[in-house]
């Protein structure tokens, strides 16, 4: 977990924002030495999607727009408690945590930030959950493996992401919880990094309705 100590900023007044941004910027430039922190800086400047809004925004812009209140980001302890695998590259989640924490320390985080974070955390967990439900078509000789017979029966056709056969044996498959559309696990995971929607029906992939 990356922590930036001793930069405790609260954005209380409009006119302070520019000054705060200057401070954030100089703090950021001092982050350049560490590759991990550099990545966090990168994320700070990278546009992310907030909830249901259409336009992606940069965290840094959120700060600039004075959406930040002086409320502090209280979840940092719970962040540490969640089971993040540093080898998990999904959404650069690990770095995202680092980044949220940096922003939170720098700005005295916004409620919105908490929302963004919760949303991504939710997605992260949902994907973990999805991975657990992966199954594969067993080879014909040993049909009594982990694969669910019912699922097998329905697997006709191609994965619409790679256009390869879904019923090839031994490849991990997944059925999306809401719409039941099936894909290769590997294929849908790479798509979910970019989108929340099922490639076939544009239903929300992960949220259980």
């Amino acid at each position: 977990m990356v922590k930036v100590a001793a930069v405790n900023v609260s954005v209380d007044r409009e006119e302070q924002v520019a000054e705060q941004l200057d401070r954030i910027e100089s703090s950021l430039s001092s982050l350049n030495e560490s590759p991990e922190l550099l990545c966090a800086k990168d994320l700070l400047l990278r546009p992310i999607q907030i909830l249901d809004e259409h336009q992606p925004v940069c965290i840094i812009d959120l700060v600039a727009q004075r959406v930040a209140s002086s409320a502090s980001f209280s979840s940092s302890s719970s962040l540490n408690n969640s089971n993040f695998n540093s080898n998990s590259d999904l959404f650069g989640m690990f770095h995202f945590v680092a980044h949220v924490e940096i922003v939170s320390v720098l700005t005295g985080i916004a409620p919105q930030m908490g929302l963004i974070f919760k949303r991504d955390l939710k997605k992260f967990n949902a994907i973990d959950e999805l991975k657990k439900q992966a199954f594969h078509v067993a080879s014909s000789s040993s049909s009594s493996s982990s694969a669910n017979q019912e699922d097998e029966g329905l697997l006709v056709g191609d994965c619409s992401i790679c256009l390869q056969d879904l019923s090839a044996t031994g490849i991990d498959l997944i059925r999306l919880p809401n719409c039941s559309h099936a894909f290769h696990l590997k294929c849908i995971l790479s798509w979910l990094k970019k989108s929340d929607f099922c490639p076939l029906c544009r239903d929300l992939c992960l949220q259980k309705s």
Binding site: I161, C162, L163, Q164, W191, K194, P199, L200
Partner: protein
């Protein structure tokens, strides 16, 4: 990169099979670069593009199909959602509404559908959009028709 190649190769084989099935679309891959494709599409009937054959150029990104292909008209076309100079196309599925379930072939179909159903409210060609929005359907038709004749129809004789 590997995934996009495999997928494009699969599409290539599919296209060979579909050629007969969809006479309105002729997709072809560059001989030396599987990321470059061109398509010839027929202007839909009962539109000012009827009888024209329009060439599209596809530049497929390495992240395909997670990212949409870049498509533009090489043939000049007068259409509200196509940039008159660059041939750039304003179509949601080529931008935020992209899904990897689209193929180059189905993108062609979507473009044909766009030719038949222009969306004058998101114009890349303002002249054309304005004509339609102001209700000057005849004006729009005659302009679109003229460019179809000029640019998209084989010269006779």
């Amino acid at each position: 990169m590997q995934a996009s190649r495999a997928r494009l190769f699969k599409e290539y084989k599919e296209v060979q099979r579909e050629k007969v099935a969809d006479p309105d679309i002729q997709l072809a891959c560059d001989d030396t670069n599987i990321f470059k494709w061109t398509a010839l599409i027929k202007g839909p009937s009962e539109t000012p593009y009827e009888g024209g054959v329009f060439q599209l150029a596809f530049a497929v990104p390495e992240q395909y199909p997670l990212q949409p292909p870049q498509v533009r008209f090489l043939t000049k076309i007068f259409h509200p959602n196509v940039h008159f100079k660059t041939g750039e196309i304003c179509l949601d599925i080529l931008k935020n509404a992209w899904s990897p379930a689209w193929t180059l072939q189905s993108v062609c179909r979507a473009i044909i559908a766009l030719m038949a159903h222009p969306e004058p409210d998101s114009p890349l060609n303002c002249d054309s959009g304005n004509l339609l929005r102001s209700g000057d359907i005849r004006g729009f038709h005659s302009m679109a028709r003229m460019y179809t004749r000029l640019a998209a129809m084989p010269k006779k004789g």
